[in-house]
């Protein structure tokens, strides 16, 4: 049963088969990995900017490190980490042909992502009440731009997952098209690994202010 299905993301090119490159790997998958490689440079720029400016603020003005709530952010990080588990379980479900579980795990992933975004909105609001906003200092700007762009990526991921749930309900994701879920999963896991770096470098690594 399993072997009758095309290999997810791996296939020999056939005449007229435009989705498969000469590499034998689906062009969409190669494209997604190339995109993720370029995203490393994008987030690398934002993280570097934060590292460079994290202590630069006028005398007496708070920097992000003064207002971090590590236990709270740790829970958010845990939530996002667990969303990677539900995402990979969604992929495993569609590869088994289990559409009901696919939708359950995709919705669970979207829900966990929404909890993470809700947490970020709460955190930003709390920081604003502490007197830290986008224009307070260069340090605050670099923090909000970095974490804000990450949050935007998570939001795009949530919308993508919900669209997959809708497609699945309309029967548009048969098991042979599990690559659609795999590609969305690659994006989602990437957003998770970026947060792994942000959580450590931005929140946990001590700042000498």
């Amino acid at each position: 049963m399993q072997t009758a299905l095309p290999a997810p993301g791996t296939h020999a090119p056939a005449p007229g088969d435009h989705d498969y490159a000469a590499t034998g790997i689906d062009a969409r998958k190669v494209g997604m990995w190339a995109f993720l490689g370029s995203e490393c440079l994008f987030f690398g720029a934002l993280i570097s900017s934060y590292l460079l400016y994290r202590t630069r603020a006028p005398q007496g003005v708070k920097v992000p490190h003064d207002v971090y709530d590590i236990p709270y952010t740790s829970v958010s990080s845990f939530v996002l980490l667990m969303s990677s588990l539900t995402m990979v379980l969604a992929l495993a479900a569609i590869q088994r042909g289990d559409h009901r579980r696919l939708r359950i795990w995709l919705l669970a992933t979207a829900l966990l992502g929404t909890v993470f975004i809700g947490g970020q909105v709460y955190e930003f609001t709390a920081f604003t009440h502490e007197g830290l906003n986008l224009s307070t200092s260069v340090a605050a700007s670099s923090f909000f731009v970095l974490t804000g762009f990450h949050g935007m990526h998570v939001t795009v991921g949530i919308l993508w997952l919900l669209s997959l749930v809708g497609m699945s309900l309309r029967g548009q994701i048969p098991s042979e098209k599990s690559l659609n879920v795999e590609i969305a999963g690659l994006y989602w896991h990437f957003v998770d690994v970026v947060w792994i770096v942000i959580f450590t470098v931005v929140y946990l690594v001590p700042s000498n202010h």
């Binding site: 791996t10 790997i25 190339a34 690398g44 845990f78 980490l81 990677s84 770096v197 450590t200």
Partner: protein, 116 residues
């Protein structure tokens, strides 16, 4: 040697059916995914734990970066299937990471020297 490797990467998959079987068999099972997630959660707890331990900053930073590297690698290898997919995909991603690391390390050092 390099040329042979490049040719091998560009050549069409010789036996896709076999790769399909191989692919299906080598991907972790749902239970293994849960096990990996438990390890990741434990490492996160460890990170937060050592954050509160009083120790020299350099040691703390080294430990935190080490643990983050382990988490990053585990997600990329098992959840993103880099461990099981083709070398080409691995190289695309690692190239992006290495390029970012080198460019921004040099930029940070330079800017720190100039304006530090």
């Amino acid at each position: 040697m390099e040329e042979t490797t490049a040719t091998a990467e560009l050549a069409p998959a010789p036996a896709p059916e076999h790769e399909a079987e191989h692919d299906a068999h080598t991907h972790p099972s749902p239970a293994q995914y849960v096990g990996i997630a438990i390890i990741l959660a434990t490492i996160t707890a460890l990170e937060v734990g050592i954050y509160y331990i009083n120790m020299p900053d350099k040691l703390l930073v080294a430990m935190l970066l080490g643990l983050a590297f382990i988490k990053f690698s585990m997600v990329a290898a098992y959840f993103m299937h880099l461990k099981f997919d083709g070398r080409l995909l691995r190289r695309l991603f690692i190239t992006g990471i290495c390029l970012a690391a080198v460019v921004y390390f040099v930029a940070l050092i330079t800017l720190d020297i100039l304006f530090g």
